[in-house]
Structure formats: structure tokens, C-alpha cells
């Protein structure tokens, strides 16, 4: 077995209440690493087209990668893969906390849950004994994720759902500690199986190729991260909420259901506001993470709980025109406890508010007014009244009530909080990312709109190239499984410290702007490992990884996801953005919206796809994608 893997896949059939431990497939691990990549391969191979995502044939796959179980910073995430009930295409999400670490300690790389239980059940895996218990969970059914985890205790690592998952809210997530695998409705799939919780324990240690070198190198990387202006300072001090004022300053902060990119009260929902008003309690982190981007906040009546992240502050704040961080914190707590994705939730609420403005929905819900939102979030989680409609997300709501042109989603997945009209590459990424409108499947916006060294976000240059490199890298990162934040360290401290008006900075920016050859080099070079994730993989597995290897593996995963979506009936027509984003300008100099259709043909070509967005046989062969 390749080093870094436990070497076991746990197969669980909930219908028959059977389990077995099977060997991890080494060839698949070599081709897809683990995490999202390995899970996607399993999903593709084991399912037929057209299965009901909420039916027993949809496998729910929990997958770790070779970096999990190590002490590498930000190596604490696991991936969940299944068919998405929200999009009808590939579903996946990753989550921090301690569960990934727990799986590796239990000696399991992947857990595949199939079938469906008749009654609420939880699964308890003892990796040392090699046993799996199916335990009645009627006593936990209906309870929130906080209480559920408290009742399960701290001795094991848990992944649980709340009432949103139980009630199959289509954007329900799976919660571990205070983190959530939020996107694409993976929690609804878990709920459809009547699986309340999955607990793992064990005492296995990670077997790695060169532990001494790994330890020494990791110590160095940790020091780099601690001294890094984003990882060690900004995120540490302000959390992800520190982005709010930046996106607002760049006119890309979703406001009033993406009608604007600017919110006058942005400061009041920012990380800086937390600090100034002493709202921050303890700064929290996932296991082995020096960044500590999480922060606890005091929510009246709830106590000290996890505070909202940037996406939540934007989608439940500016997007609803609510400049009250305490309210957003309360709604964040409710959503976490019910177990649902705050991005989809906030986007759906904003869409409903605009429907109401236009006389298309009879509700008291209104932009800028927090009244009734707490109750409505509860109703969504329990599928009561209007909440039942909102629990299906913006696409279905627009198909029912109208407003398709301003429903903020791609492929059914609600847009994240970077308005692509001021971030063209991010728009291409949203349109083409296989799981839909998400920002962490590439994060092009970092090199375009919010990072320290950016390209012009509003011309056509590199806007087809950047998303490809970023999407491929993210696929690899999500398969190791690392936090995407580890990629932010790529831009070194020295660049952060440059004066943006200086000649040296401008020269560097010019070079980046004209870096087509560099992008091609990054995609093809197969030399020695350079960056930490390449080196960690090499030191753990004993196999050689460089940027070219990761680009190839990431491209393989991305194309397999694409083939999955095509098999499920998605097509090039789904590679689009909401009409509002395409046609309504948010900048005074713009005549229209995002120029997606000028960029897509080039993106397809560079991907090795035909004009219909289908990977050519040559591309699949080159990448080794068996379909």
C-alpha cells in the first residue's frame, strides 16, 4: 500500500445493516489521490445515470486523503461525495474539524454508505476492533447539531445532521464539530438514509515515507504561515470577515439579491467590527491549523457559539441589506444548528425578498428588515409553510414562482459572495465548476479581485486560463484533503509588503497579466516538488509530485466530474450565469454584465473539450479518465 493511506474502505449497507472492510484500490489512489477525487471515481463507477439522489441507490461517500492524519497545517478536512439533490449533478463538499483525523485514526480512508434505514440510526465505527455498530437514533432525531454532538460525547469524532438534513432541505449539510460540509445538499442525502450520525474512533498512526523530513519541513511551513500577512495576520486577526470591506471596496459584495456590489453598512458586518466591538470570544481553529480563522461570538440566548464566516456575513448580511452583525450571528447559529448551508440559505432569502418586492410572493419578508427571519430559518429547517418552498433553493423557487432571470444560482447551486461582474475569471469559474456556483472550487478571485497581486478583473485576458489552473489545483487540494486556504500562501509575504503604486509592483503585475506561458508551464512541469502541498504529498507517499502532476490529477478529477454531469443530462447550456449577472451592469463604466459567452469557447478549447463542452476522446485518454 502507498504510504499515507490507511488502506481500508469501509462499506456500509444501511438497508441490510451489513458492513465490510475492503482494501483501498491503489491504482485509484494513484490516479485520484483520495478525498473528492477518489469519491468521484467511486460514484461514477457504482451508480447508473438518473438515480434518485434521495433514494437508496445514491451512495454517500466520506473520503479522506493521504495528508489527513498528519500534522501538516490545514490537513484536517474530509470530503463528502454523492449525487446532489440540489443540482442533479455531482455533489460534494468538504469540512474541517476533527472527523478526517478520526477516520484515519480508525484506519479507514473512505466510508461508503449505501441503502436506507427504515428508522433513524447512527453508526459507530471502532477501527481498532474492526466493528461497526448500528444504533437506534430515535432519541437524537429532531435534535440540533450542537446538542447531538454534545450527547455523543467527545471521545469519538462525529459527522452529524440536524433537522434540515432530516427534513431533506436541499441545501442541508453535514456538521463536524463547529464546521460544516455545507454545499450541494449532502446533508439531505444523509437524512434520506435516516442516518443521524457517523462516529469513528481508533488509535492508528499514519504511516509515512519520511517522517523526519516531513516533521522538519512542516515546522518550516508552519513558520511561513505564521508570518504570512494573510494566513498569519489578516485571517488570524479578523477571520474571513476581514474580506467584507475589501469586496465592498471592489464593488463585488453581493447586495440586495445581487442587484448591487456595494453595501453602505458593510463595515458593520465585517471582521473589523467584531474586533472593535469586542464581539469576539475565543479564536478557534480546526485541528493542526495555525491560522485560527474561526471566532466564537456571544449570541444572546445562545451563549458563546461559533461566529459567521465571510460568506455568511455577505449572503445573510449585505445580500439582505442587514447591517447588524448580531442578527447575522444569530442566524448563522440557527443555520449551523439546523445543519444547513448559509450561502444557499442567504441567497434563497434574498431571492424571496426580491420576489416580494415585485409582487410575486406574498410575505412580510423585506430587504433591510430582520423581522421574522429567525422564525423563517426555523421553518425552512423543518419545512413548514413558506419555509417548505424556500427549502428547495432558488432554482426550484424560480421555476415555481417566476424570477428565473434574477435567481442567483448556477446549475442549481446558489452563488457565493464574489460578484463576478467585477471578477470575470471568477464568473467563468462559477459557470463551469461542476458542482455549480461555488468559489472554493478554484478561487480565481484571489488572483483577480481581492489578493495582493491581481490581474485586471474586467478584461478578457487570462480569464479562460486562470480558472482552469485554479480548478485543477482545487480538485487536487480537495483530494489530499487540505483546506483551500493553504493556497493563499503561494503569494509570498514580500509581495504583500510591496506598495501597489511602486514600479516593482507594477512590473510584477504586468508580468502576471501577461503570464500565459507561465500558466502553461505550471500545468506541464513535472520536476521536483516546490510548494508545500506538493512536498507534503511527496514526503508522505514516497511518490513524486510537482505542480504539473497536481494539474494533471486535478484535470483528471475535473473531467471525470464533467463526464458525470453529462451522464446525468447536464450540458453546455448549464455552463452559464444568471441573466442578471450577464446583462445588468454594477459598475458605471459597464454597458452590460459579465462577458461569459465571449470567454466560454476559449475555456472549452483550452480544456480540450469540443464546442458543445464535451471532453474529446483525446482529452480523456491524455488524462487517463476511464468512462
Amino acid at each position: 500500500m502507498i504510504k499515507g493511506y490507511a488502506g481500508r474502505v469501509l462499506e456500509v449497507d444501511l438497508t441490510a445493516r451489513r458492513f465490510s472492510f475492503e482494501p483501498l484500490d491503489e491504482e485509484t489512489a494513484r490516479l485520484y489521490i483520495g478525498g473528492k477525487g477518489y469519491g468521484t471515481r467511486l460514484l461514477y463507477d457504482r451508480t447508473e445515470a438518473g438515480i434518485d439522489p434521495l433514494g437508496p441507490k445514491n451512495p454517500l461517500i466520506f473520503a479522506t486523503g493521504p495528508l489527513n492524519g498528519s500534522v501538516a497545517p490545514q490537513s484536517n478536512r474530509f470530503a463528502v461525495v454523492c449525487k446532489s439533490p440540489l443540482t442533479g449533478g455531482i455533489g460534494n463538499a468538504t469540512c474541517g474539524g476533527t472527523f478526517a483525523f478520526g477516520m484515519k485514526k480508525a484506519g479507514v480512508d473512505v466510508i461508503v454508505v449505501t441503502g436506507r434505514s427504515e428508522r433513524p440510526v447512527r453508526i459507530d465505527v471502532d477501527g481498532n476492533a474492526g466493528t461497526v455498530e448500528f444504533i437506534d437514533a430515535a432519541d437524537l432525531w429532531g435534535k440540533g447539531t450542537y446538542e447531538t454532538q454534545a450527547l455523543l460525547g467527545r471521545k469519538k469524532s462525529h459527522a452529524v445532521i440536524g433537522p434540515a438534513g432530516e427534513n431533506k432541505v436541499l441545501y442541508a449539510g453535514i456538521v463536524s464539530n463547529e464546521r460544516i460540509a455545507g454545499r450541494t445538499g449532502v446533508g439531505a442525502v444523509m437524512g434520506s438514509k435516516k442516518l443521524k450520525a457517523l462516529s469513528v474512533s481508533g488509535s492508528r498512526k499514519l504511516d509515512m515515507e519520511d517522517p523526519e523530513k516531513f516533521k522538519a519541513y512542516t515546522r518550516d511551513v508552519r513558520a511561513i504561515f505564521k508570518g504570512h500577512p494573510v494566513l498569519g495576520e489578516s485571517l488570524k486577526r479578523f477571520g474571513t470577515g476581514g474580506i467584507v470591506n475589501t469586496t465592498n471596496g471592489r464593488n463585488i459584495l453581493p447586495t440586495r439579491n445581487f442587484q448591487k456590489g456595494r453595501f453602505d453598512d458593510a463595515m458593520k458586518i465585517s471582521g473589523e467590527w467584531f474586533e472593535d466591538h469586542e464581539l469576539v470570544g475565543v479564536k478557534t481553529s480546526c485541528i493542526h491549523c495555525p491560522v485560527s480563522c474561526g471566532r466564537d461570538v456571544d449570541v444572546p440566548g445562545r451563549g458563546v457559539v461559533k461566529g459567521p464566516e465571510y460568506e455568511t456575513l455577505a449572503l445573510l448580511g449585505s445580500n439582505l441589506e442587514i447591517g447588524d452583525i448580531k442578527k447575522v450571528s444569530e442566524w448563522n447559529y440557527l443555520a449551523d444548528d439546523l445543519g444547513m448551508d448559509t450561502i444557499s440559505l442567504g441567497a434563497t432569502l434574498g431571492f424571496a425578498m426580491e420576489l416580494r418586492d415585485r409582487g410575486m410572493l406574498d410575505t412580510e419578508l423585506a430587504f433591510g428588515d430582520p423581522a421574522g427571519i429567525s422564525e423563517l430559518i426555523q421553518d425552512i429547517g423543518h419545512r413548514r409553510g413558506l419555509g417548505n418552498d424556500l427549502a428547495d433553493g432558488t432554482r426550484r423557487l424560480s421555476e415555481k414562482l417566476g424570477g428565473v432571470e434574477f435567481a442567483p444560482h448556477v446549475k442549481g447551486l446558489e452563488l457565493s459572495a464574489y460578484d463576478p461582474r467585477g471578477s470575470f475569471a471568477q464568473g467563468v469559474e462559477y459557470a463551469t465548476t461542476n458542482r455549480g456556483g461555488c468559489h472554493v472550487q478554484g478561487a480565481s478571485m484571489y488572483l483577480e479581485s481581492v489578493g495582493p497581486l491581481t490581474i485586471n478583473p474586467q478584461n478578457l485576458k487570462l480569464k479562460a486560463d486562470l480558472p482552469i489552473v485554479q480548478q485543477n489545483l482545487a480538485c487536487a487540494i480537495n483530494s489530499m484533503v487540505l483546506c483551500i486556504f493553504t493556497t493563499y500562501g503561494i503569494v509570498p509575504k514580500q509581495v504583500h509588503e510591496m506598495d501597489p503604486s511602486s514600479l516593482s509592483y507594477r512590473t510584477l503585475a504586468f508580468l502576471l497579466e501577461n503570464s500565459g506561458p507561465l500558466f502553461r508551464w505550471v500545468q506541464s512541469v513535472k520536476g521536483s516538488p516546490l510548494l508545500w502541498f506538493e512536498k507534503w504529498l511527496t514526503l508522505i507517499t514516497g511518490e513524486k509530485f510537482s505542480s504539473g502532476h497536481l494539474q494533471e490529477i486535478g484535470g483528471r478529477i475535473f473531467n471525470l466530474e464533467r463526464m458525470y454531469n453529462l451522464r446525468e443530462g447536464l450540458s453546455a447550456a448549464d455552463d452559464t450565469l444568471p441573466d442578471r449577472i450577464l446583462h445588468e451592469p454594477t459598475f458605471s463604466h459597464m454597458k452590460s454584465g459579465h462577458p461569459l459567452h465571449e470567454l466560454l469557447p476559449s475555456y472549452y478549447k483550452k480544456r480540450g473539450w469540443d464546442a458543445s463542452g464535451v471532453p474529446t476522446a483525446r482529452t480523456l485518454e491524455r488524462l487517463g479518465v476511464a468512462v
Binding site: 489578516s234 470591506n245 471596496g249 471592489r250 473589523e272 489578493g451
Partner: protein
């Protein structure tokens, strides 16, 4: 022309004000007016300003005519810092 100037958090901590309105025809005028606002603490201004990019109505001046970028009445000039997250 009256334009609105937004400072970064760090700048506003130093000044005690987050937003000011100034009379300016170009971005260079805005920078001058902001520097004046810092009074004797010119060095602090230069240091804090060098950690931020300048944007007019959300567009970095680096992608326009830098300090020569012309302003219209009601424009918004923002000192914007780099950030990252998810």
C-alpha cells in the same frame, strides 16, 4: 467636484474617521487631501497608504490612469487592502 473617500480600517483607526468628503479633480488630489488629514503624521500616512490599493467606484486606479484618473462629482475613492478567505 465633491468625492467621498473611504479609508482602510487601519487608517481610520489612526484618524478616528472612516469616511470623508473632499473636493478633488483627480485621484492625486484625493491622496493629497488624505495626507493633509494626517497632519504631522505624514510618515504614518505613507506607510498605511502603501499597504492599500486605490479604487474609484470599485475599479483599481492601476487599471485606469493611476493618480491622473479623473473624478466626477459623487465618485467614491477607496483605500482597499488585500484580503483572502472563503
Amino acid at each position: 467636484m465633491t468625492v467621498r473617500v473611504e479609508f482602510t480600517y487601519e487608517m481610520s483607526k489612526k484618524l478616528g474617521v472612516r469616511v470623508i468628503d473632499v473636493d478633488a479633480k483627480t485621484v492625486a488630489d484625493v491622496v493629497d487631501a488624505s495626507r493633509q488629514r494626517f497632519g504631522d503624521e505624514t510618515e504614518a500616512f505613507e506607510q498605511l497608504a502603501s499597504r492599500a490599493a486605490l479604487a474609484v467606484n470599485g475599479v483599481l486606479v492601476r487599471h485606469r490612469k493611476r493618480l491622473k484618473t479623473q473624478l466626477d462629482d459623487g465618485d467614491r475613492v477607496t483605500f482597499v487592502k488585500a484580503a483572502a478567505g472563503g
